[in-house]
Amino acid sequence: MTVSNQSVASGALVLPRYESAAGVHPPLDSPDYRSSALRHPKQPLVPLPQRLTEITGPLFGAERVGAHDADLTAGHPGGEPIGERIIVSGRVLDSDGRPVPDALIEVWQANAAGRYHHVVDAHPAPLDPNFTGGGRCVTDSLGRYRFVTIKPGPYPWGNHYNAWRPAHIHFSLFGRAFTQRLVTQMFFPGDPLFPLDPIFNSIPDEAARQRLISEFDIENTVPDWAMAYEWDIVLRGRTATVFETEEHQ
């Protein structure tokens, strides 16, 4: 990229600009998700121009990741967790198709029985002493990531009568700029709970919703050992910088 070079040459402070995510994310006021009722602003959002604080961001890499952090089945003295061992991998990309390298990803999930290793979770399903459910990794130079884990189970929750969450893994990403910060959930193909889940269906656009569903990934399965799912994550990309450069010159 030549954004920095151009700006130095022209003497102007030329900043990259990240495209809008309008229409992609769920509205904060989503009445079918009852917990949103008291937790969404009533006042309209104020436009914040993207300036230096917004186009930069924390660049965390390998220093935040321990040896076993990308393998959620490892690190427990009692052995391996119960459940279907899976590999989850994919790429983190900008919306213009460029890989996002060296980017920290944090994940957390329920165990195979649909129970979280968390004091708040009162679901009467067994805890697994060999599964905590938190992990981290960093994307490589091509934006690729890979976790080993077990497939989480669906679980009931109190949103409405007989409410169940489709099985999912929480993902947290920084990208390379404050504008790119994203926390989301990855789902598994063919889940019968999709039409019934107000969190999944809070995403207004059907095509965007489908982008949260991973694909069965035969190529990355390990024979006699693990199934695999593939899921790419797309963060807000930069709009063309040429126009902005001309504008400032």
């Binding site: 030329v14 104020v46 404050f178 994203l182």
Partner: protein, 190 residues
Amino acid sequence: MTAGLTPSQTVGPYLGIGLPWADGSFVVPPGTAGAVRIAGQVLDGQGAPLPDAVVETWQADPDGRFDHPDDPRGAAKPAVAGFRGFGRSLTDGEGRYEIVTLRPGALPTPDGGTEAPHLDVSVLARGMLDRVVTRIYFPDETEANAADPVLTSIADPARRATLIAAAGPDGELRFDIRLQGEGETVFFDV
């Protein structure tokens, strides 16, 4: 509508499994000279504290520089050892968070203006399907705040005031985040 972006989903109630960092609150290491503690509560539309939220901050260093390649002035290694620019604090049972940091410098804008010292803030929680973004400004930067292009874009002085931390004892700053209702914090579309 942008093709291809991955949509946001809530962090849910179990963010405590995946997001805590032992040093999360410390944008600078404990004991750093000149460090300021910024603390407050995250509150819902009925004034109830959120025990399941996370507050994240991002800011320039005291010289107004970023250790980041996209800053057209060049990436600058922080002048203070261990300065990270980023803070993360999960709320406790009373909705309290805290960040220990250094006051950032002012920043130039592309049109020749100046932004007053500020922290960008993301708030995520159960019940929130996307993050909300706000800013923390400093109460003793009267002149810089009066010229800040973001603060001056907010016409209502009462709304503007929600972005300015309150001075507390021992140089601490208090910044509460009200998600809804009376005194609702200004949130941004970035």
